[in-house]
Subunit: 342 residues, 2 copies
C-alpha cells in the first residue's frame, strides 16, 4: 500500500495511549492532558510534563539564541503546568549537542535557564547529556504541584458555558512569520511592533497565576494552554464529548501590533489568529458569563476575554460579520511517514 | 585560544550543577546521583531519572531493532531506579523521529516498550513526539518510589568497607565489540556465547530486587549501577571523599562466555572488565565482609561478589597477580567542543 503517514497525535493515540501497568490507580490523568497527574494522597498531586525543542523543527539557529532557547524551552513546559492550574517545582534537562558548538553557546544557554528557573522557582535536579550527530535537541521534564483544589483538566466542558482566552492571540505566529521573513532585520529592528511580536514568539509568558486563580476560585470547568492554535486546542478541549463551540471572530483579542503588522507579513491574518499557535495563552470554559465573572473575580475578569460559547451542535463554528467563515481544522502537527509493507 | 573541549560530566558540573531555586529544601539529592530524590513527607520519596539514546551515538540501527531499543531504553532508566534501591512507577516517553521510518518501526518499538513496562509495573503517563531532521532520539523520564528505609545514595563510603558487584562484568562491552565487528553474523549466530554476550548489551537486566534488599536490610553504605564502567563508576562513588579503593582483578566475576570469547574480539580483555560499561550491574560498599554478609542475608550474598576494599590512599588500584596494573582513568564519556573566542 506504499507509505503510511501519521501525525504526532495519531502516533500517540495509536501506539502509546494504553500502555503500562493496569494497577496504577493513582494516575488521575495520563497521556492526553497538558501534564500528567499522579495522586499522592488526600489533596496532593504531582504534575509532570515533558516538552522538547529540536533545531530546524521548532526553531532556527539564525533567529533563536541559546539564551532564548533555554527560556522558551523552560516556559513552554511551565505553561503546561499553568494549564493544569499548578506550580512548577523540579526540572530535568536533556540536551543532545553536536560535536562543535558556536562560541559561548553553553554559557548563554545555561544563563537563560538559570534566569528562568530563578524567576519561576524551579530547581534543576537531573537530566542527561549526549552528543548529537544531527541537530541540537533540548528537552525538559517539569514536575509541579497544585493547591488543595486540585488540577484543572482539559475535559469536559458543558453546553452553554462561556469560552474565555487570556491575553491576545496570533502574536507569536506573526512573530514567527517575521523571524522567518528576515531574521536579521527582526533581531535588530528598532520598530517597537516587530520587537514585541518576535518576543512573543521567542519568549512567551506562561499564565501561572491566572491558572491558579481559576482553580482556587472554582471559576473554570476546563483549562488548556494554546500551543497548537485556538482551533486545534479547542478541538482537544472537546475530545470525547459530542459538543461543539461557536466563536465570535471579532471578539478574539489581538494586540495593536498584530493589527498593524499582520497584513504586511501574512496573506490571511485570520489563519494566524485561529491556527497560529505558540501564544501560550490560556483557553478555558466557565459557567459564568462575563458580567458574573467580573463580580466574582475582577482580577481574573480583567485578564481574560469571552470569545464564544460551548454549543450542542458538535461542530466548531467561527462567525465573522454575522457569517460562518471557512477554515482548516487543527493546529500545527508533525507528519511522519513509515514505509508500508502491504 | 582555539576550541575548547569538555566531556559530559564537566558540562554538567560547570553549567548545570548549581542551578535553580535556593528554597527547595525537599531536594535530598539533585544532580550527581543515579536518580534525583525529592522528599515527599515522612518516609516518602519521589525518585526521578532521565536517560536518552541517540542513533549512531548510543547504538546503530544495523544491530539494534526498534523492539530492543525500547527495551534497552526502559531498562537503562529502570536500572537508575534500582541503583537508588527504588521501585519504578511512571514513565514519560520522548521520541524524535526522522520523516521516514522503516516499515513496522513504530509497531516494534511500542511492543518492546509495552512488554518491558508490563514486566516492571511501569505506566506510561506522558511525553512528547517530534520530527527529527537527524537521527532517531528516544528518551524516558522515569519516576519511582522507595520503601520506608529510603533511597540508597552514591555517597559516601567509609574506609575499609568491602566493595561488591552483582552478576558478571565485561559482558555488555564484549557484546558491543561483537555487534560492531559483524552485526549480521551476531544477529544470526547460533553460537550460544555470542547470543548471550550480545543480549547482555542489547537487553540488560536491572537489579531491582537486589537494590531493594540492600536498602531494606541496611546492608550497603553506598550504591551505584555500572553504566560507565567499573572504574568510572567507582570514581563517582568516591567523589567528594579523600578515600580510594583497591580491587583484586581476579576476584572480578566474569561469565564463562566472556572468558571464552574475549581474546577473540578484543586485544585487552582487562579494558572490557574495568572500563567497558553498560553491564548495569550494581556496585556497592558494605561494612560487612563476605562471611558476615552470607550470615545476615544469604539471598544477597549469593548474588554478589566481593572485589576489593575502600582504602585511605585516595587512589584506585587494581591488583593482578600481586602487582598493580596500569589503566586509563574513567569510563565512557562524550566529548564536546565549543569554539573559543579568546
Amino acid at each position: 500500500m506504499g507509505d503510511r503517514s501519521w501525525d504526532e497525535f495519531e502516533i500517540i493515540r495509536r501506539f502509546f495511549s494504553r500502555m503500562g501497568s493496569p494497577f496504577a490507580e493513582e494516575i488521575q490523568t495520563g497521556i492526553g492532558d497538558d501534564a500528567a497527574v499522579v495522586k499522592r494522597g488526600k489533596d496532593a498531586w504531582t504534575l509532570v510534563t515533558h516538552d522538547m525543542m529540536v533545531e530546524d523543527v521548532h526553531y532556527r539557529a539564525s533567529w533563536m539564541s541559546p539564551f532564548n532557547l533555554a527560556r522558551k524551552l523552560s516556559k513552554v513546559n511551565i505553561s503546561d503546568i499553568a494549564a493544569m492550574a499548578g506550580t512548577p517545582e523540579y526540572a530535568l534537562l536533556s540536551i543532545a549537542l553536536p560535536d562543535t558548538l558556536p562560541a559561548g553557546w553553553l554559557e548563554d544557554f545555561s544563563e537563560g535557564l538559570q534566569m528562568t528557573f530563578l524567576e519561576y522557582g524551579v530547581s534543576l535536579i537531573g537530566g542527561d547529556t549526549s552528543r548529537s550527530p544531527g541537530p541540537v535537541m533540548v528537552a525538559i521534564t517539569l514536575m509541579g504541584s497544585c493547591g488543595p483544589w486540585g488540577p484543572l483538566l482539559r475535559h469536559a466542558p458543558n453546553a452553554h458555558e462561556t469560552l474565555y482566552v487570556s491575553g491576545t492571540l496570533g502574536d507569536a505566529a506573526l512573530g514567527l512569520a517575521i523571524l522567518n521573513h528576515d531574521p536579521l532585520a527582526a533581531a535588530h529592528s528598532d520598530e517597537e511592533d516587530v520587537a514585541y511580536l518576535t518576543r512573543r514568539h521567542l519568549d512567551p509568558t506562561p499564565r501561572l497565576e491566572l491558572g491558579q486563580m481559576l482553580a482556587a476560585k472554582g471559576l473554570a470547568t476546563t483549562l488548556i494552554d494554546i500551543s497548537d492554535g485556538l482551533i486545534g486546542d479547542l478541538e482537544h478541549l472537546l475530545e470525547g464529548v459530542t459538543l461543539g463551540a461557536e466563536i465570535t471572530y471579532d471578539a478574539i483579542p489581538r494586540s495593536p501590533a498584530f493589527t498593524r503588522l499582520a497584513p504586511r507579513f501574512h496573506p490571511t491574518p485570520e489563519a494566524l489568529i485561529l491556527s497560529g499557535g505558540e501564544d501560550y495563552e490560556l483557553l478555558f470554559t466557565s459557567p459564568h458569563a462575563p458580567s458574573e465573572l467580573k463580580k466574582r473575580a475582577p482580577l481574573v475578569a480583567e485578564r481574560v476575554t469571552a470569545i464564544g460559547k460551548i454549543t450542542e451542535t458538535g461542530e466548531i463554528t467561527v462567525v465573522k460579520d454575522g457569517k460562518p467563515i471557512r477554515m482548516e481544522s487543527g493546529g500545527f502537527r508533525h507528519q511522519f511517514h513509515q514505509k508500508g509493507t502491504s
